[in-house]
Symmetry: D3
Subunit: 287 residues, 6 copies
């Protein structure tokens, strides 16, 4: 008789054979408005059984990919630096084994742990960032390690013109000024310009980290998130954008900011699962 195992649907590969490794970071301590993103990764696993493994969009089946789901890290609530260290350690281990780490949040701050590990291995790393919010504050309510600062901290690490932001429709005046000063490559509102950015990165063989804050989606498609921002992209636009990015050399990725309790209908979790399926298929096709 077997012990009860819970993984994302279709991710039954053994670690040794896997090319992609899922790991969850159930952390949302710096969320300032409405918490709950800590439950995102577990909800995605649990609800993934309402999803088919076959994608009619890519005509491919998740069962043919080599994905291992290592479950959720056990993180320290209330101490962001410690939590980020644990995330970095896990990402580093996966990268060291030659596999692609795919992080499931959690709030967006968790990305910083994974990016630190990726930038160690790939010093020329670029980031492609889908989000409603610029996340470029230098500090937020006194804290430099906050979901509202995560891309600013990545900029500290990588420097100018290495972060390509899309769908951004919220930020304070200083964040917009920071981006417009050329520190990041910010594309407001939608995915305009994404194909050109990806073409350039692919041509140069640049390693890319893809970070998706799911609130880039319009709240009508994805209400279950801490800070919903009306005026976002559609689900089908996001799927196409994800496939576009996978044309480049993606070395790490994440999906963040699903807060399943905030959407009792379950639609947001189901959408997140489908984005993850499509991302896994597109990453697998490209490797």
């Amino acid at each position: 008789m077997n012990r009860n195992v819970e993984t994302f649907i279709g991710c039954g590969c053994a670690y040794e054979q896997a090319r992609i490794v899922l790991y969850g970071a159930p952390f949302d301590s710096t969320t300032s408005f409405r918490p709950g993103a800590r439950f995102g990764s577990a909800a995605m696993r649990h609800e993934s059984f309402g999803l088919e493994t076959y994608s009619p969009y890519q005509r491919a089946d998740l069962c043919d990919c080599a994905v291992f789901d290592s479950g959720d890290l056990e993180l320290c609530f209330g101490d962001a630096q410690r939590a980020l260290e644990d995330i970095r350690a896990r990402a580093r281990e996966i990268l060291a084994d030659g596999k692609l780490p795919l992080l499931l949040g959690g709030e967006h701050l968790v990305t910083l742990g994974a990016v630190r590990a990726a930038a160690e291995k790939y010093p020329d790393l670029h980031i492609i960032h889908f989000d409603a919010h610029a996340d470029l504050r230098d500090e937020y309510l006194g804290a430099p390690l906050s979901h509202a600062c995560v891309l600013r901290r990545c900029h500290d690490l990588l420097g100018d013109a290495r972060i390509h932001q899309f769908c951004i429709r919220s930020g304070d005046r200083e964040e917009w000024a920071f981006a417009e000063a050329g520190h990041t490559d910010l594309h407001p509102f939608d995915f305009t310009g994404l194909r050109q950015v990806v073409d350039g990165l692919r041509a140069a063989g640049t390693p890319v980290y893809l970070t998706v804050d799911l609130d880039c989606l319009d709240p009508s498609a994805f209400p279950g998130t801490g800070t919903p921002e009306a005026g976002g992209v559609t689900f089908l636009q996001l799927l196409e954008a994800v496939r576009t990015v996978c044309g480049a050399r993606v070395v790490g990725a994440d999906l963040t900011e699903l807060a399943p309790m905030l959407d009792a209908s379950g639609v947001s979790t189901a959408a997140a699962c489908k984005v993850l399926r499509e991302l896994l298929l597109a990453l697998s096709a490209g490797r």
Copy 2:
């Protein structure tokens, strides 16, 4: 003093004068993921009083149509074959009286009872099927009578090329292969090709059964359903498609898979009511 009567708004015609008869099938025993469709038909009646009987889309009023609402059948939970027999008996009775049976689900399996009755009377019956899911599995978790198999069972009855499927965006590999082998006429994702199909059927005078799984709608418009699938059609696209189909010789119809408890905002039930109003008006205009 009168006893309390509850019907869908504007459906106050006597049975004898009625041209369309509503009947509900509050059944969801084979629902594998999230149950609740059993409450769909009662919720539609109850919430219909938030709706006007007049449609600015068709410039017509439900009060001018001849519709009788016979309420819900009392079905046996946990025994799908018995439930289907009871549905078939009711549909047969309505058809025998020369009226159009319009079934309110319940889960999608209930359609099979109604289609069996319609196919008895109209051996050359075709089905037009709007759905997110192909529903073409040969069995599901060991059961041949499952919501996931309902169109496959209809295919058993009608044979190849008699089922026209639209908006399909989910299914396992075998279902897609079954459709692509020509057993059904599957149009993925949206209503592309619908007008041509309807034109052909109308020209031939073919009797048509219209089955609408409301999850063909995008979850943003219709979150209250057991298995929401992102990437669906809009409400206005569905209204237009319904009117288009009513250009053919429709002899039976259904709306299924509203699970009202899954959408506490009531938006899904309100949308379902409006689809029903528009369907009743379009069917009435065509008769």
Copy 3:
């Protein structure tokens, strides 16, 4: 130590310096279907802290505008005439001080109090009305003062061709006939014709009252309202329409029919807050 003050974000101007004054009318006694709009104004203030004061759409910051938030009126439940008198008195006071009154509902009937005050000061007032419902009934369930009659009561006051209605997609047969007889200028379904209307009013220097029933939005974007009507406009279309109207000489405005308890995800309240921010910015730019 300061007492606890709660205002809409960024509305910290003193009354004397303010050019726009917010006032709330937490009233929904005539709501016939699903109540809860009484909580709309308080929810908008409370949840506004999830919003930025800076708008990337207008490249402007609410902190640079001169807005005073006077909180909610304390209104009598169950006596509509009294409540409307109190609303009129507050609007009259704001107008007398040369400021623009911006009313936060509450149900749509509250508009009548504000329009009465505005029409006193501006006898040539026109109304621009965004709504899913025509609200042109002469009485509803026996009451002439009902949310379903509010624009009819405004018509009693202003006469023919002074009310410009947009996005209307629901009403009974008599309401549509009333509008089509030329009593109001009704544009069904969307904002078609808005720019021409505004251009005409601007050219003539006509004073305009803008009343926004937020259920003009599609329920996918705004489920939290008493009577959701599928088939509405998108959030971005509404933002553009609001900016368009502010090109005319707007002398009063309102946002109504947010019922926050009906949308537990908070998306509707967040959308309403963003519409208010954009309206305040556009009104400020135009003054």
Copy 4:
């Protein structure tokens, strides 16, 4: 084929044979805090099918009683006086036919309409009142016709020492003083003294109207109400109290203040249904 009828379970008697007549008043326009009691009566009918008709407490079956369910009145929202007139007219009609009117609220103000009709027929009427709130304000937010004033209005009609209040645990200072001055017979917190009161009324053959605001129950047993007050009685205490009162000569009764949307678990509606079953059985046993 029969039209769809919805009555409270087991209330299938014809009007002519009935000894008790149910009538609903879906009204809550004066509710100042959280509305929703308008949905109470319909929810009780709808959810009654989760209940057995047999009571092990009284060893009796509702199917053996003679109860007719006349459904809900269609009342004018926003005009309390009109709504009360319609309720009085219905109660008067039932009383004139020699039957016992049993009113399902709605907010507590609806009781006034029924009490007016009962006091016409029985000038020596007494009221037994179960409630968390004294409801003795002379006016509330300017309105004399408010749920918070309903027993004060009854006092206007009946005079001193005719109203027996139980379970009261909330009221302003003036209300407590009014009761303590002997205008009503107020028993705070629980049912202490009920049996003596009932014994006295029975001995005298005094006609009694029983009004039950279901918020007399502790919120743990009955959370679904507009103004929950911790510290109430248990469900079994209420059942016993209801049976006790039915030892007197009850000529009219009501159950009010179920607001089903406020308790998504359905427990409150289920409890209200069971109180109604037990009340109907006890009234039937006593007649």
Copy 5:
């Protein structure tokens, strides 16, 4: 790196060493009123991490017990006989290995599968049954295999005076008559008589199956169940009763009818977890 495992907290023993084996039956197809019990077992595992493994009631720690959690069976929806067969097979396997099977529902019908297995091994089996409902119908809506019939089916198997029912407060007239005729040993409303029954069974060394329908609890303590019945026992009374029963020779047990979606507060799931912890500790102490 390890695969993600999800078990009830503190149940980390290997199968070979285990004395108690948990197995889940996520089935609710015959639920006639409000479904959702299918999610009970998974919710208990998931939410158990809010619980301590140490019990101050028994001064013992779950970590010291030998419990293996084998996860949920994959059952066929819509075919009750098949589902019961699969449950019986699993229970038989656990019993054959000399361990105690502890079943987590699911609806109450699942008990029948486990009882069939236990009665095979222990022909002199008695059942102790905690429930709000008698569950003694001979058939329900035409089905003999229904949650409303489960104890009647057990009676078919075991015969008269072998089933001891407690807390029963709901049933139709025939069920009460059936019990009162001596077919079962029914104790209404609470646990009166339990100790005597247990003392007798212990003295005789009789094997006992304990089936707990969690709706024996009052809905104030346990709202998250399909058919809540006011007037139940308290949580502490249930804990004591569970410990009392474990004084006898318990050879199998179950907890059923948690429907977690019906109680969004999570209180019901938390209570169920605590009952399970206390049951596991009491069973372990007795072995």
Copy 6:
């Protein structure tokens, strides 16, 4: 025209005249299970308007007390030490002005900030602690500053036998051993022994800090909290205990762990408001 002020009902005293000062700490970053206590203080203010200021339990009116509500602190999420410093600073300021600081949480960790300030001024401080959980862990998930450790940190500060714990029914084995070793004075399950403890403290004139984790209440009365523990005290028991404690020399107090989003019925917030009213009245009576 006045700015919108939001305070707890009846707390309209000026700061200078106040004897009690409310201050809120909307912080829950270390909550490990289900967050949301950050919204507790704001919800209490907002919902307090459903409450009367008069208490029939104490026959006193909040309007006669001298309470100032200073609103919520703006705290840093994700940095517990900084948040505690800000809380300590506010408490110190209130104490320095000779007033009693009454803190509204937030999670239970916030108590540590207030206790640090109180212990500075009153080195002989004792704590009376009502809670379901012992909160005596030395660290939790690696963090010494966690809600699960808050009383242990207080013990670090105050030493043995200065903390009197009541209602405790959850903790790991080490926490129980720590208390049983005499480090704290732990009374399990209920308020047994409270009167004796208070009598002793009053006789000695000892300054007392009262910390109430509202989850000491049974979840049936108070479901809206992060970690509900069945088997708690009733609301009326808590009221009596609060009044008992106020017989001693209370110099500071708090109410924590209301998570209003977890109880959509609003019952938990209403109960918390009533506990606060009774606490304020009892504290005022004693001063």
